[in-house]
Symmetry: C2
Subunit: 333 residues, 2 copies
């Protein structure tokens, strides 16, 4: 029954393997927004695309690339997981506006303007001051709009996010975060931001990363679904989805890379601290890719109807891809 609900996870950076792809199928995942890079530059981003090309060859029975939103239905029909790509930072385009269209052609459907820190485009949520979208950032937003690359502000700061919504002619998304009203983490978003995202036509993907949740690893499924209900109230039923931020099977070195990249000489612990430096304990009700049906069940218990559950689990994400990843008319992208 739950298997029949279109399920799209709006962000993962798992330690991709046959076992994980099999668990995704077991959990009913039809498509996933896979993070391609965190801090990789242009050439390094091509290395990551190359690795995925090999995965698509090696695991063609379990996964396939999503080049177009329609491919998600194809993946579903063939019992495979469709994979679409996003960058958590703007590092792939370096300082070169032409790389937006080039990365889009290679399959980068989503890009964050910044990852925690100030970038060439915008300000991240860990900086003390946010001076908004930069000169290059305005050009990049226009170009992302033109070629059909979704603007993702998950790790961005408040003012930059609001300005991006203002500047963008197409919806702006937050692929993975939660409302700050539920849990006041730096990475979670104010009601003002969430309303702006919804008004832009965008979407918030709910994270199950314990640092983004009330009571951390002890957050209950009921509390999580209560948060979803509150966000639905605030943003409307068409503007919410999943973005688990699941990093299944990743070693701590990957966490260190996410947090420190190449920019920090001293250890930056991100949402953790020296005494709690590693991956957080997972939730009891969402350990890995097999547990998506638990969320469906939780939403039912919370009183969501079938239609709303389908929107949250996948239909809203599909609509974002349909609305946001086509080149604009008369574009020679």
């Amino acid at each position: 029954m739950s298997r029949s609900v279109l399920t799209i996870d709006g962000l993962q950076y798992s330690n991709w393997s046959r076992e994980i792809f099999e668990q995704m199928r077991e959990g009913g995942v039809d498509a996933v927004h896979a993070t391609l890079v965190y801090h990789e530059n242009c050439r390094e981003t091509l290395l990551r695309f190359g690795e995925w090309q090999r995965r698509f060859e090696a695991y063609g029975d379990l996964i396939m690339p999503v080049r177009d939103p329609e491919d998600i239905e194809l993946a579903r029909a063939s019992g495979r997981v469709g994979v679409f790509f996003g960058a958590q930072n703007c590092s792939p385009i370096e300082d070169d506006i032409d790389l937006v269209a080039i990365m889009r052609r290679l399959g980068l459907m989503i890009m964050q303007l910044t990852y925690n820190n100030q970038s060439l485009l915008a300000c991240g949520c860990y900086e003390s001051e946010d001076s908004g979208i930069t000169r290059f950032g305005r050009q990049a937003i226009r170009e992302m709009n033109r070629v059909g690359m979704l603007i993702d502000m998950s790790h961005s700061a408040e003012r930059s996010t609001l300005e991006a919504v203002e500047l963008s002619e197409r919806p702006v998304i937050i692929s993975h975060a939660n409302p700050a009203s539920f849990h006041p983490a730096k990475r979670n978003k104010s009601d003002r931001v969430l309303k702006a995202i919804a008004e832009s036509g965008g979407l918030l993907g709910f994270s199950v990363y314990p640092f983004h949740l009330k009571n951390g690893p002890d957050c209950t499924l009921d509390d999580f679904c209560g948060m979803v209900a509150d966000a639905a109230e605030l943003m409307g039923m068409d503007h919410i989805g999943l973005g688990t931020d699941l990093c299944q099977g990743q070693p701590e070195s990957v966490l260190t890379w996410m947090r420190n990249g190449r920019w920090s000489k001293s250890m930056d612990y991100g949402e953790g601290n020296a005494g709690n430096a590693g991956w957080p304990q997972p939730l009891s009700w969402f350990r890995d890719n097999r547990d998506f049906p638990a969320i469906i069940e939780g939403l039912k218990q919370k009183g969501f109807g079938q239609d709303d559950i389908e929107k949250i689990m996948g239909r809203n994400w599909l609509q974002q891809l349909i609305n946001g990843t086509r080149p604009m008319a008369a574009s020679a992208a």
Copy 2:
């Protein structure tokens, strides 16, 4: 009348501008194999793709990208020049086999395995000894076959070329050169090579670069068309086309870049010499992109029928693209 003959030029590296694109239309050119790079590495190749993206935006009334061979008919129907890309060297893939599929996805339809010198894949026609296709070269040929990237041996040495034909499961082409029997330049090809190319299902594109022609700039149109007739005899009517090697409007610095790249401290004069270092004088009957109808006329005078003229002027090139640039079945390229 000549305007109605599908015309595809199998190699140019002109100093692209509105004026040149207009002259291409005036000369009836429906599509062109544009050299994207000579010695550029991966990142630099993306700069060149970026420049072409801007050209497609700026000159959308005159040119369009050929992503698929069918686009050539679309270009023709809309009165524009279709542009498809090739690399004159394997430098865009550096030492990374995954970059073959990535470059193909970006629109690189053709790649030479080497440009005059030894490369990581094969030997060039200016080396004193040719040890054939390298270990990496064998992998690259297999991958180019898989993703549908045409193997071009224009600047390769004899043994490497014959081995490439042997190793490749798909046709191998020589986009721009002439028979050595017509003019014995290092860049021109032996009958043995030309027969192997034809037997592979490939094609020879005739060059009008004076260094590749008998009597250089004084080569007559009648002599040129005689060479075409002899090659047709040797290779068959389906395996010949044009590859002018026209570098219209390029400054001498570009010639120096082609010849010297970054590899030579002392000046390498290529087919010229210290006393004749610059661009050769053009042919009187082929000065620039407006002169393709002269070739049609010359072929008529030589006794070629309409069908054969259409094959030589464009239909054979179109067939090469159809046969050679589709991914192989069951490929996840």
